[in-house]
Symmetry: C2
Subunit: 430 residues, 2 copies
């Protein structure tokens, strides 16, 4: 058998330990598939004493991760530290400029520094791989950059954050409110103590910016992603959406069109006959629509020790087989620098929920604002006042320019009839 | 830009013409992704006069496909002739032994001669690629052989034949019988004039044998696939399955366990909360369950000019990028030669439908046969006699050895109570 591929792992949290476990359990099979053994030779982590349930005997230990990049017994560096800057970025630069292939699960670092790192990988002629960074175990990086490579892709979108989807599904199934389900998810370890990265959509936006780059042959533009999270969704939104034939999902949506690149993470109403409506719990799913292949769907577990380790080792197998292709499916200089397409010019349908006072004239005020902004209403639901006297009013608009809906909401700003801010969600008609 | 990859295409039916169209439309993008242009230089087809809607000017034309393998202006041969033997196989051998990479959409040839061809490719150090052979445009060959490479896969299964799924879905939505929907599908061009390859499950079995090889690291064993098609499903089966919470799908199912390799194409009852229940119309979907990644689902269009061309060109992009990995995810000599696991020892639940005479004692006879064979009944439905006096009787069994159900049916063979053969379907509890 050929010489082993020697791996240095930086970061021994769940995923790092998972990679060690996977290679211990499936090493022989992986070697058959990779054409050579894949062997961890060195690790870097802070705490030498913690019991991680893995056997680290015989592995070199570095306190400083960057030292892995300089070891002769490390052919490829795996970065599982996390964080967009700091030690992860220092290590990435050291590995790639030093001519070592680099594997990472770090979506934040790629969203912010992906192009720089891809250029460094190209200059050194080594691989930069990150299957685990988007949608965990689902081989969607490979699916887009290789499987769908023959297509002009019009849209790429998906359920990219398992924590949000777990919360939305639990709200849906149990009729409970957001804060209650979040608290439970935190107690169960499904959501972080500081959940904002997930529930405010930043994590999904990191992933979307990477998918959009691959799908559209465009430079990553994380700052161009419009981001809204799921904090303001209430149980009634989910119930009303259901009564209209929809489920609510946090959708990362990318589109390349004549106006440029459009990227948005936003809660959306997904029709029941769309596959994303059936993505439940902490699952992830990605849809790509190509001009020849049509609609492709990839679905699976988007996070967790096992799925993420699976994706990291898939990258190692690629590298063991000699893969050195460009990180973003084409050389960095071939990536288009696309303009940002303004959201307002897009056409679509919208869901609007208002909490209003129960008094005469409110409905007339709202519908007049819609009419004056040129928004046409497809459905309107009002179901009587709550105990506190407030009334929920839900509208679904006909298809029209998004800026019209924005104008209508501007007209209503400061209205005495509204209690709190209106809730706007887009309808996924793709 | 680097030198073009020069392609010779054998077979200019829909898919061959689709590849030419795709490269004409998306050539510039494909070149950016592949790192070099991909150019068709020569074609082989019988009819030079037919209008295929593509520009063949400037392309060399061979009447004999095998001549493509010997042309200096052909770097890679694409075979889209079809048929497990004959010209397709002759061409494959000539191309691979002559040291030219070979791309095919020919599942029948791979099911029967895949190992021989893979060995020839290895000996010559060139690529044998066939993404289009299974599930059309869905990159499931890549997904299994690369994306899921780190996993021991316990099961691989899916909806692998779009014609069958179109028919089953139409029966489901319209409450119509098989023969009526088949005739309509033939009139619309969704089913062949001789539909037996599709509806009797042979096409799905070809694809399953390839998926099983990739998933389990085992030599292809097409002859080991148990095959039952959808001919004998009646509208009432679909209605009764629905009343029990299931949809009927023709499922190709592979499993590697302690007893060996189990492969079966069979109509199955799929629970409504399983993703395959939502695969409708002519879509295909493949599920793989890995020990680390969990359940992966790949879904999309499994046939047709555009999706198939998309998969063929994805293979060409791989080859243009320098890919030469083994055809079945590992060298042929590393593939395990697995025993065939007997169906009877598997445990599962079954759906049984009997058409019986409406007279006393029939139900006692059937239930006694079940009891005597050790089959325990979970549900039983009988809904009164039809106009002709016959009665439908539907049973779902509790989980038990499949051989028990087979024994019960043997006991009932020749019974005067039965009108026609009973219908047996398995329940997908995976």
């Amino acid at each position: 058998m050929a010489t082993p591929l020697k791996v240095g792992i930086a970061g021994l949290g769940n995923v790092g330990a998972g990679v060690v476990k996977l290679l211990a359990k499936n090493g022989a099979l992986v070697a058959r598939r990779a054409g050579r053994p894949i062997a961890v030779t060195a690790v870097a982590a802070r705490d030498r004493t913690r019991d991680r349930g893995i056997d680290l005997a015989g592995l070199a230990w570095e306190d400083d991760a960057v030292a892995l990049a300089h070891r002769d017994d490390v052919d490829v560096v795996v970065e599982l530290i996390g964080g967009s800057d700091g030690p992860a970025l220092t290590l990435a630069r050291a590995a790639l400029t030093g001519g070592k292939p680099f594997v990472t699960a770090n979506k934040a670092m790629l969203a912010h520094h992906g192009l720089e790192l891809a250029k460094a990988a190209e200059a050194a002629g080594v691989a930069l791989r990150y299957e685990a960074a988007v949608a965990g175990g689902i081989p969607v990086i490979k699916g887009l950059s290789e499987g769908a490579a023959a297509n002009v892709i019009a849209h790429v979108y998906g359920v990219l954050n398992g924590t949000c989807n777990y919360i939305l599904t639990a709200m849906e199934q149990q009729g409970r409110d957001f804060s209650e389900v979040l608290a439970e998810a935190q107690a169960l370890g499904y959501a972080e103590a500081d959940p904002s990265f997930d529930i405010d959509g930043v994590d999904a936006a990191h992933k979307l910016s990477i998918l959009a780059s691959l799908a559209f042959g465009a430079a990553i533009d994380f700052d161009g992603v419009g981001i809204t999270g799921i904090r303001h969704i209430i149980a009634a939104d989910i119930a009303e959406a259901a009564s209209l034939g929809y489920r609510i999902r946090l959708v990362g949506f990318g589109e390349a069109g004549p106006h440029g690149l459009f990227q948005r993470v936003h809660p959306c109403l997904v029709p029941m006959d769309h596959p994303l409506a059936h993505v439940t719990g902490s699952l992830n799913a990605v849809v790509a629509e190509g001009d020849f292949v049509g609609r492709l769907l990839f679905q699976g577990r988007g996070a967790g020790e096992g799925p993420t380790a699976s994706a990291v080792v898939a990258d190692l197998v690629d590298i063991a087989r000699g893969g050195t292709g460009p990180a973003f499916a084409m050389p960095v200089d071939s990536l288009a620098r696309l303009e940002r397409a303004p959201a307002g010019r897009r056409r679509g349908r919208a869901y609007l929920r208002f909490t209003v006072s129960d008094r005469p004239g409110v409905l007339a005020e709202l519908t007049a604002a819609m009419r004056d902004a040129g928004v046409s209403i497809e459905s309107l639901i009002q179901r009587g006042a709550a105990a506190d006297g407030s009334v929920l009013l839900v509208m679904v608009t006909h298809e029209g320019p998004e800026e019209s809906v924005a104008h209508a909401l501007e007209r209503l700003e400061g209205s005495q009839s509204l209690i709190g801010a209106p809730m706007l969600m887009h309808i996924l008609d793709s």
